[in-house]
């Protein structure tokens, strides 16, 4: 009698030379997941990522709550990037309910979403630094992140889980004098992240260690369905803010960063370059934003969708294209909410990249995929 076993439990006949390592879930270099790695000496023969340790059933929970009460818990998968996680859901509900959003609210949303992208990327960068044994690169981003968290706290009232975007606009208007404070802090933030080049990105040891490791070619990147920074590091110019502009992104002046190499170094550099673009977007949006006006359309209590209807919206989050598919059947609760997350798409590339690499490259290749374990599990 053969029984289907989980990947880690199955007894496999392997060569005597090969050692199986369970990297995670209790391992400083794994995150909330397990990577089953088979090594021959210092080389990785096979790799089997095993996510699912933090599955919380967000999608099922969404079917029991109405459109408004879904907001605080749908942002939980990535609390550092909570505005961007919520963005496609809010856009979808607005289309389902047929709501027109005020112009000022659109700008506030863009600013909040770009600030959040930077907050997420700084956290990601801190962990990337400590994965490579660079403790200063852990402390600096973790400290500089506070600048933007303070801004978001002024804006939304919460430090990480903002629940700021609602169907019909944003929850609150900006506090008085926010524009000046925001401009000052964002300028200082941009100055700080440019200093990271000297200590981290131009470091010869870092370049020697991560360049030409875990190379993902342009064709493979497209074939495996990767998104976001991983795709752009492989030479594909694909950014939803340019390709499918939502809210006011088409009126703002910015560019997408594309690198050709497709190795760990390029993958780690793209989010850092994106942060500078985010600073540009924030400055431009602060300039163009209407100085006064409504930020929220009043909704009826307990809004209902119009009949059997479905909508799919996607945005560019800190990790890549994040989609949300909402089906409504005319009740106050959605019939189905499906999150299509970039982390899981990027994780698919991991076994292909790690095969034949050295064990020492595992942390850098793994974390350069811009992967967030909690988001992949939802």
């Amino acid at each position: 009698m053969t029984k289907e076993l989980l990947p880690g439990l199955a007894l496999q006949k392997v060569d005597e030379r090969i050692m199986t390592l369970n990297v995670g879930p209790q391992h400083p270099g794994s995150g909330h997941m397990r990577i089953i790695v088979q090594i021959d000496g210092d080389f990785i023969v096979a790799c089997d990522p095993d996510p699912g340790y933090v599955h919380r059933g967000e999608e099922k929970m969404a079917e029991y709550r109405n459109y408004i009460t879904n907001i605080p818990h749908l942002e939980r998968p990535v609390i550092h990037d909570s505005c961007n996680v919520l963005y496609p859901y809010v856009l979808g509900v607005e289309e389902l309910l047929g709501i027109e959003v005020p112009e000022r609210a659109k700008y506030i949303r863009v600013i909040a979403s770009e600030l959040n992208r930077c907050v997420y990327t700084m956290y990601w960068l801190a962990i990337y630094g400590i994965f490579l044994g660079h403790s200063t690169m852990f402390m600096w981003p973790a400290g500089d992140r506070e600048l933007l968290i303070d801004l978001l706290e002024k804006m939304t009232g919460a430090r990480v889980t903002h629940a700021h975007f609602v169907p019909g606009g944003v929850r609150n208007d900006l506090p008085p004098n926010f524009e000046d404070v925001c401009l000052r802090q964002v300028n200082y933030f941009e100055k700080r992240i440019k200093e990271y080049a000297a200590i981290f990105y131009d470091n010869p040891i870092l370049i020697a260690r991560t360049a030409n490791t875990g190379v993902l070619s342009r064709e493979d990147a497209i074939r495996l369905g990767t998104t976001g920074s991983v795709l752009r590091a492989s030479g594909v110019d694909y950014d939803l803010r340019k390709k499918e502009p939502y809210d006011v992104y088409e009126e703002l002046d910015f560019q997408t960063n594309v690198l050709k190499e497709g190795d760990s170094y390029a993958r780690s550099k793209i989010p850092w370059l994106d942060m500078m673009e985010s600073c540009r977007i924030i400055r431009h949006a602060l300039q163009k934003m209407p100085k006064s006006g409504s930020v929220r359309v009043k909704l009826k209590p307990n809004p209902k969708g119009k009949g059997l209807n479905s909508v799919y919206k996607r945005v560019e989050s800190g990790r890549g294209s994040l989609g949300c598919y909402i089906v409504s059947d005319g009740k106050p609760e959605p019939y189905r909410v499906k999150l299509s997350v970039p982390s899981f798409r990027n994780l698919i590339a991991l076994p292909y990249l790690l095969k034949g690499e050295k064990l020492g490259n595992m942390p850098s290749v793994y974390w350069s995929l811009n992967y967030w374990p909690v988001e992949a599990d939802r």
Partner: protein, 432 residues
């Protein structure tokens, strides 16, 4: 009845104090006095005023502080003092504790944080003591399938080997625990023990991550020992001796780093690798193999390994100072002891006390120790600094660095030394 201590009774408080005093006196009489006699028995007693000092006489002199100084001086020349306190273990442990404090605060300043702050009134200076107490109070967990005798022995051997290394370092003229003629060879022999202990501890824990870490440590130490030894040959060629004290004495005019900078750089890189410090901390690479060969250590076993690591760090930095920076040599900056006190004595209130035997240490010795500590701390600072600015490198990069680049450069260094020797510039019978 007070609110702060509701069960406080003055009579019990007095009784507790008297109890404690009784037990302290009893323990002092039963253990302390025999211990003092034992120590006095082993000290070579000085002859003072034409009279040989006996332990009994010495004990009666304890009442007069000025007359205990000869005993103190006699004790300081014993091997026990040298091994346990000054040039040996105690001094090295003190510098190691200072190193840990400096490392934490310096790294914190580099990374825009405060570091240890609350323990101890001044800048968290007692944090290390707190950590030590915590480690002592922790349970020692040994893996079920570990080879227990070796697993227990490895940390102790590690500290013992590091202490043996420390014993070979001359700190001031005449102040060295083991002044052997083949000092440098003894250093190489001691360094050769570390990979064996590391692989023993890693293998005996019977766990995957320590095993990988141990293999990495073995690769790293073995491949960096060769450039380490080769880089020091230049100094040996120019001085013509292996005795570390004589190597220091040969640098009274100029340190060897001026003529052998390549050797100094190679030696510095290899000690970074031997000490498993960033960028060469592969055996303890956290994100790859948890804590490497230290993964299964817990409690004071881990504390012992850490103590050994920092003793080793001090010993390597001191070796760098001894071989390339001129050891204790340096301009005289220590103020002389006031002649006034030696001839006329100190006036303490109504009494004038003449104390024979002052000063305890000579001016040359104190000055030498001062220069030695300054230079050693400077080298330790540069050993600690890469931790803040470099990421970790990979095994293949490490091995190619050790086998291709450093060994080749070490030979260049040896040729430079030989050229200087045959040109008659330096070395035995040289111009300089």
């Amino acid at each position: 009845m007070s609110v702060i201590a509701p069960n406080f009774k003055f009579s019990e408080f007095v009784k507790a104090i008297l109890d404690n005093a009784f037990w302290i006196l009893l323990i002092f009489v039963l253990i302390g006095l025999p211990a003092v006699f034992l120590i006095l028995f082993y000290i070579e007693m000085p002859v003072i005023n034409g009279e040989l000092l006996t332990p009994f006489l010495a004990l009666t002199w304890l009442a007069d502080p000025s007359r205990t100084l000869p005993i103190l001086k006699a004790f300081m020349t014993t091997d026990l003092f040298k091994i346990a306190a000054f040039p040996g273990f105690g001094f090295a442990a003190l510098i190691a504790a200072g190193t840990i404090f400096i490392e934490r605060k310096m790294l914190a300043k580099l990374q825009l944080r405060v570091g240890p702050f609350y323990c101890g009134k001044f800048e968290g200076i007692l944090q290390l003591m707190g950590d030590g107490l915590k480690l002592i109070s922790k349970e020692i967990i040994i893996p079920a399938k570990a080879d227990k005798p070796i697993f227990w022995a490895a940390p102790i051997l590690f500290v013992a080997t590091a202490a043996a290394f420390v014993a070979l370092i001359p700190v001031a003229p005449g102040w060295v625990v083991a002044d052997v003629d083949v000092g440098l060879l003894a250093v190489f022999a001691v360094i050769g023990f570390f990979p064996i202990i590391t692989i023993l501890s890693a293998w005996s824990s019977n766990s995957k991550y320590p095993f990988i870490g141990g293999i990495r440590a073995l690769h790293q130490m073995v491949s960096f020992e060769i450039p380490l030894i080769l880089s020091l040959l230049g100094v040996v060629i120019l001085t013509g001796t292996l005795n570390l004290s004589e190597i220091v004495a040969s640098q009274s005019n100029f340190p060897w780093i001026i003529f052998l900078p390549i050797g100094a750089i190679i030696f510095f890189i290899t000690i970074l690798a031997e000490l498993e410090r960033i960028p060469f901390d592969l055996p303890e690479a956290e994100s790859e193999i948890v804590a490497g060969w230290l993964t299964e250590f817990s409690g004071m076993i881990y504390g012992l390994v850490q103590l050994g690591t920092y003793l080793k760090l001090y010993a390597f930095a001191a070796l760098f100072v001894v071989l390339f920076l001129g050891g204790w040599t340096g301009p005289m900056i220590w103020p002389p002891f006031p002649e006034d006190i030696i001839t006329n004595g100190i006036v303490l209130g109504p009494i004038t006390a003449k104390i024979p035997g002052l000063p305890i240490f000579s001016q040359e010795m104190l000055n030498g120790v001062l220069w030695f500590v300054i230079k050693t701390m400077g080298v330790i600072f540069f050993i600690l600094l890469p931790r803040g600015v470099f990421p970790r490198i990979r095994v293949d990069m490490l091995l190619s660095l050790g086998w291709y680049k450093l060994i080749g450069l070490a030979f260049v260094n040896i040729f430079i030394a030989l050229g200087l020797l045959y040109a008659g510039v330096l070395g035995p019978g040289g111009i300089l």
